[in-house]
Amino acid sequence: MEGRPLKQALARAQSRAKRRALLLVVPLLLFIVVTFVAPIGQMLLRSVHNDAFARNMPNVGAWFAENDGAPDEAAYSALVADLRLARENRTAGEVGTRINYELGGTRSLFTSGARGADDLEPPFATSLVEDDAKWADPQLWQVMRTASHAYTASFYLAALDLTRDGDGNIVRVPEGRAVYLSLFAKTFALSALITAICLLLGYPVAHLLATLPLAKSNLLMILVLLPFWTSLLVRTTSWMVLLQEQGVINNTLVATGITDTRLPMIYNQTGTVIAMVHILLPFMILPLYSVMRPIRPHYVRAARSLGATSWTAFRRVYLPQTVPGIGAGALLVFILAVGYYITPALVGGASGQLISNLIAYHMQDSLNWSMAAALAAILLAAVLLLYWLYDRLIGIDNMKLG
């Protein structure tokens, strides 16, 4: 009887305010879409999409679409037609690179094949193979068949040390060429180790920060934050100075006679762990501190007055209350460590490299961006899995970042 229902009236009354609020967040929304959502989406797309072969080799692609099994004369003539096309369009290198990702040493096969394609006479099945016997390799044809589809899972397979054999079955790559799985395992193991060390070192510091009188805790806080204000490169280089074979620590150890041999502490896993713990420590301390700060000393005192020893009071009363901080700090450090690049690159040597270094290699050196994207996507998936696990075990709303 009041005319419009109440809900409608409320929506109308609030719509103006809502529009204004939306207008305020639009710039941020655009920024996130442009700088965050779009690149990640593009990366994910690139990891499953590579049309370098499919785009430039239409004839052989059509043959693959119609025929199964071993190549016949029609397949070879389609291939030669495509090679001539590639020569014309100067795309032989692009095509060769695509196949080369999956079958080593084939880039030159395509470039020289394209160069000589005009001189070939039919039947191409013999003339092409006479030119280079590799053209008859069933695995090459298998790879080309896969590559004739623009969308492919082969980068993910490769990132998991899997490949397709000549019959199209998914198999493990030979022992000597498997690098990714063990590197993933090493990355996660080292990140877990770094997280654990950060927790062990950071917990007492955070507790001290939270309980000291303000003047002293401020000073300590500056010391904790100081590394943040120093260039990452400077910090990493100073670790080089300290840890190297002729460095300060080794000199001291030898001079004091603690060891006779100089310890290899850098350009290996040890160096990566030491330097990364140092760099990531504040990310553990700060969430812990923000959780510990509001915990009043009353709780521990109450526990003590109720008959608990100081250890019991810590274990049963203090520690459980800091779990949100432990969770947040550990998650933060672990996720940062899993994707860390610059420090392992500088101090990691050969054994201290992490998966991110390999991603960088594929981005910069081998220019196999699809491979880099697949590796990065797997890393992202693993981190999301971890996040989900954390949510199940501790609850994300329990997390306090500061």
Binding site: R296, H298, Y299, R301, A302, A303, R304, S305, L306, G307, A308, T309, S310, T312, A313, R316, V317, P320, Q321
Partner: protein, 365 residues
């Protein structure tokens, strides 16, 4: 001051405490608390009362002197071995445990078996009328309910001594009064010894057997509530507890009928407390409700003063009357709001007087 502090249940024997090695927060504390007594430490903040409580609980160590519990020196006993229940100002209920887990904590650390534990928890919760709340978390309870749980937790392991550090400070007035009654009832029922710290004089007066008034690191007066209110021993106690009027003057006569001559020349009746000689300057303290303006309410030949009514504030149960007396503009007289009460009007002049025992000439100036 205290000749023999004897062998009470809790004894502070010449206890001193300094945090910085320069100033003493507790100067020379001698206090004996009897078994089953409800003793309140009352004082402004910074007076040393909480420090004393913390020393008793074991969270602070005495710089000098002995603290004895049941005849045993406890200076070197860590807090968890003292077996003292404690209720904290903001309850300090463990937020990550349910109410029942909170109560189980002191029993678990004492290694008490599950069935006995549950029986004790049920009993303690029933004691504070919170039997139905065992499965709740502290955050789901109101302030008053949390207070009850804190109380139950401090009592569940049957301590002989319970310390309470301003436990009702965070509650609203009505709830506070109710809880005062509850705590007092538990004290009487269980026969425990309670040491209670507060800065709220009303709380101290309603609950305590004896009150120790703290100021400046010393006990200013240790007495039952009525004695503390009616016969304060010094100016601090008189002004800290209840309202009082102060008149400055000089002792005119000491003896069966002591007199003080005010600065404006009038003579008044007074009882000397810390002043003994004729001619000493002093401050006389008189409770507003003991001031009378009707001659038939005063003792015979009482000295009276001229007073002019400045303001009458109607407060329901009393009429708070501000008077100009002997050069002072804020002399307060409280008149009960009875049916026959004379209503004074501003501008009116009356003569006021009092019983000599109610005017206490306290400290020499």
């Amino acid at each position: 001051m205290v000749a023999d502090i004897g062998d009470g249940f809790v004894v502070f024997d010449h206890v001193q405490k300094s945090y910085d090695g320069e100033t003493l927060v507790v100067k020379d504390l001698n206090l004996s608390i009897a078994k089953g007594e409800f003793l309140t430490m009352l004082g402004p903040s910074g007076s040393g009362k909480t420090t004393c409580l913390m020393m008793l609980a074991g969270f602070e160590t005495a710089t000098a002197g002995d603290i004895r519990l049941d005849g045993r020196p406890i200076n070197a006993v860590p807090p968890h071995k003292r077996g003292i229940g404690m209720v904290f100002q903001n309850y300090a209920l463990f937020p990550h445990m349910t109410v029942a887990e909170n109560l189980a904590f002191p029993l678990e650390v004492r290694g008490i078996g599950k069935s006995e534990r549950e029986a004790k928890i049920t009993r303690a919760l029933d004691m504070v009328q919170m039997g139905a709340f065992g499965a709740r978390r502290p955050a789901q309870l109101s302030g008053g309910q949390q207070q009850r749980i804190a109380l139950a937790r401090a009592l569940v392991f049957d301590p002989k001594l319970v310390l309470m550090d301003e436990p009702l400070g965070a509650l609203d007035k009505q709830l506070r009064e109710h809880m005062q009654f509850e705590i007092k009832r538990l004290h009487d029922d269980l026969g425990i010894t309670v040491v209670y710290v507060t800065h709220d004089q009303g709380e101290a007066l309603t609950m305590s057997d004896r009150i120790a008034v703290f100021n400046d690191g010393r006990i200013q007066q240790l007495a039952p509530p009525a004695a503390l209110y009616e016969t304060p021993e010094n100016l601090f106690v008189a002004s800290f507890i209840g309202e009082n009027n102060r008149l400055e003057g000089t002792i005119e006569e000491v003896g069966p009928r002591s007199l003080v001559r005010l600065q404006t020349g009038e003579l008044i009746d007074a009882t000397p407390v810390n002043v003994h000689r004729k001619g000493q300057r002093t401050i006389v303290s008189i409770r507003p409700e003991r001031v009378e303006f009707k001659p038939d309410m005063m003792p015979a030949n009482a000295h009276t003063l001229d007073a002019r009514v400045l303001e009458v504030v109607y407060m329901g149960d009393i009429l708070r009357t501000r008077l100009a007396v002997a050069g002072s503009d804020d002399f307060i007289m409280k008149c009960r709001n009875t049916i026959g009460q004379t209503r004074l009007e501003p501008g009116q002049t009356v003569r006021i007087g009092w019983h000599p025992a109610d005017a206490r000439a306290l400290d020499p100036l």
